[in-house]
Amino acid sequence: MIELNKVSKRFNEALAVNDISLRVEKGSFCALVGTSGCGKSTTLRMINRLIPHSDGEILIDGQPIEQLDPVKLRRRIGYVIQSTGLFPHWSVARNIALVPRLLKWPAEKIDARVEELMALLGLPFDEFVGKYPHQLSGGQAQRVGVARALAADPDILLMDEPFGALDPLTRDKLQEELARLQARLHKTVVFVTHDMDEALKLADHLVVMREGRIVQQGSPLTLLRHPADPFVESLLGGLERGLKQAGLTRVKEHMTSLGPQVPAHSRIPGDFTLRQGLSMMLRDHTERLTVVDASDVPIGELSLRRLIKESQSERGTPRAG
C-alpha cells in the first residue's frame, strides 16, 4: 500500500506538487492523469525517491520512505519509463536479470525467472534471449522493460507513460496485456499517463492532476458520471463522455431477457463493451442486438430504448436528446 499525506515538492521557489494526499490500496491500479507539467511524473518519482519530497509524508506499507534505505527501497519497486531505459550494452536476458542479480539470487533461480518472465510477456525465449536492445522494436523493448520491472517480483510497480512512444496498435496490445497481467499478479500499480482512454481502460482508481494539485480522484465510473469541474470533464472527452462510460460497461450488464419478439439479426457477445454495442447498432441500422454467450447461444437482448431509459433514471432528471 502506498500513502501520500499532504505531500509537496518545491523546485527552488516553484511548487511542482502542491499538498496532495493519495492512497493506493494493495493490489489496486492507480492512474495519475493530467496535462504536461501537472506534477504527475514528479509525484511518481517521489515514491521511489528519485526526487526527494519537500513536505508531507510518503508511506509504503505504513513506513515513511525516508526511513528506508533508498537502494533497498528501489529494488522492491518495479519501474518502467517511456524511453524503456534498457541498457544497450546488455542482452535482453541480462537486462531482465538486473535486479535479481543486484539481490544476489543464485544463478539457476535467475535463469529460471528470466525464462518465466519472457514467457509471461510473450517474448519467445530462443528468439529474444541473446538480442540486444537496438535489435528490438519499440513494443518488444517495452515488453522487456516491463519484464525487468517485474523481475524480482516487487509488490509495487511504478510506470511513467510506459506506452507513450508506441504506435496506436502496439499501445492497445500492450495495454490489454498489462490489464491481463494485473488481473493475474495483483501488483500495486501507479501509472502516469496523459491519455485518458488509457487510464480509463486500465485503472481502478483515477487521480486527475492540474498544476500540482489533485483536482479529483475516484473510480473511473464516478469521474465519468460526476466530473468535479469543466477541466476534468474536458479531459474525459467532453461530449464523448457518454461513449467513454459505455466503453467501461459490459453489454451483459445492460441486457434484458429475450422477449417474445423475433430476435434481432445482429449478434454481440456479452463480454463486449456497451460502446461496441452502440457502434454495432449504428453500423447495422438497428435499435436492438441479440446478446450471445461464448458459444454463440442467444442469452438476452440489448435495446437502445431501454438503455436511454436506464440512464435517465440513473441521472434522476430526464433529459431530452
Binding site: F87, H134, Q135
Partner: protein
C-alpha cells in the same frame, strides 16, 4: 529505441590486416634496414656510413616503447581517476578546473616542458616521461569526461531507479557505455606520444629519436629518414592495434 551501430560495412580485407601489415613492415625495418642501403647511399653519397649503427634499432625501439608505455600508464590512470572523480557528485565543483588544467598541459609545447623538466629531473628518461605525461593527459581526460557525460541521462536514472549503488552504476553502466570514447582518447594520446617521445633524444634519453638527432647534427639525411621511418611505422602499428580493439569493443558488447 533507435537502432545504432548495427550496420556492418562489407570489407574488402579482414580487419586485422592493417595492424598485421604495419607490424610486419616495422619488423622488416628493424631487422632489414641494410636492404635499403642503396637508397640511403643515393641520399647521402658522401657519408662515411649510411645505416645508423651506434645502437641496434631493436634496442632503441624497446626504450622508446618503455618511455611511451610508462607515460601512458600514468596518464591513463590519472586521466581516468580525475575524469571519474570530477563527474561524481562530490567532485562536480572541480569539473571546470580539471578541464582547464588539462588544456594548459596540452598548450605547453613539449619542448618547453622538457626544458623545464631537465633542471628539475636531470638529463635522461625521467624528463621525457614527465613531458609526455603532461602532453598526453588532455586527450584521455577530455574523452573520459565526454564519454561519461555522453551516457544517456535516462539510462543513468534507470540505473538509480533499479536500485544500483553509485559504484555499481559506475562500473556496470557508465564506464562500459563510455568505454569506446575513452579508448579513442587513449589512442590519440598514445599515438601522439609515440611521435613526441623522439624529442627525448635531445635530452639524452636514448630512443628512436636518436638517429634523427644524430642525423641532424652530422648532416646525414639517411639517419633522419631511418628514425622517422621507424617512428612512423611504430605509430601506425599501435594505432591500428587500437583500431582493432575499438572494433572488438563495438561489436561485442560486454555482458
Amino acid at each position: 529505441m533507435q537502432a545504432r551501430g548495427a550496420v556492418s560495412i562489407p570489407r574488402a580485407w579482414p580487419n586485422w590486416l592493417p595492424a598485421f601489415g604495419f607490424a610486419a613492415l616495422l619488423g622488416l625495418a628493424l631487422f632489414g634496414m641494410e636492404l635499403l642501403e642503396p637508397f640511403f647511399r643515393w641520399v647521402e653519397p658522401d657519408a662515411r656510413s649510411v645505416i645508423y649503427a651506434r645502437a641496434s634499432f631493436v634496442d632503441l625501439l624497446g626504450r622508446h616503447l618503455l618511455v611511451v608505455g610508462a607515460a601512458g600508464a600514468v596518464t591513463v590512470c590519472l586521466g581516468l581517476i580525475a575524469g571519474i572523480a570530477v563527474t561524481r557528485r562530490y567532485g562536480r565543483d572541480f569539473l571546470p578546473l580539471a578541464g582547464q588544467l588539462a588544456s594548459i598541459g596540452q598548450t605547453f609545447p613539449p619542448v618547453a616542458v622538457l626544458a623545464l623538466a631537465v633542471p628539475a629531473l636531470g638529463f635522461g628518461t625521467p624528463a621525457i616521461i614527465v613531458a609526455l605525461m603532461l602532453y598526453g593527459l588532455l586527450p584521455i581526460l577530455r574523452n573520459t569526461l565526454a564519454g561519461l557525460d555522453g551516457v544517456d541521462p535516462a539510462l543513468k536514472e534507470a540505473a538509480i531507479a533499479m536500485g544500483m549503488t553509485p559504484r555499481q552504476r559506475l562500473w556496470r553502466v557508465e564506464l562500459p557505455l563510455a568505454a569506446p570514447v575513452i579508448l579513442a582518447g587513449v589512442r590519440t594520446s598514445i599515438t601522439i606520444n609515440i611521435a613526441t617521445a623522439a624529442l627525448g633524444a635531445t635530452v639524452g634519453a636514448s630512443n628512436l629519436g636518436d638517429p634523427i638527432i644524430a642525423g641532424i647534427i652530422n648532416a646525414n639525411m639517411a639517419y633522419v629518414i631511418q628514425g622517422a621511418l621507424l617512428i612512423a611505422l611504430l605509430a601506425l602499428t599501435v594505432d591500428s592495434l587500437f583500431d582493432l580493439l575499438e572494433q572488438q569493443l563495438r561489436h561485442r558488447p560486454t555482458d
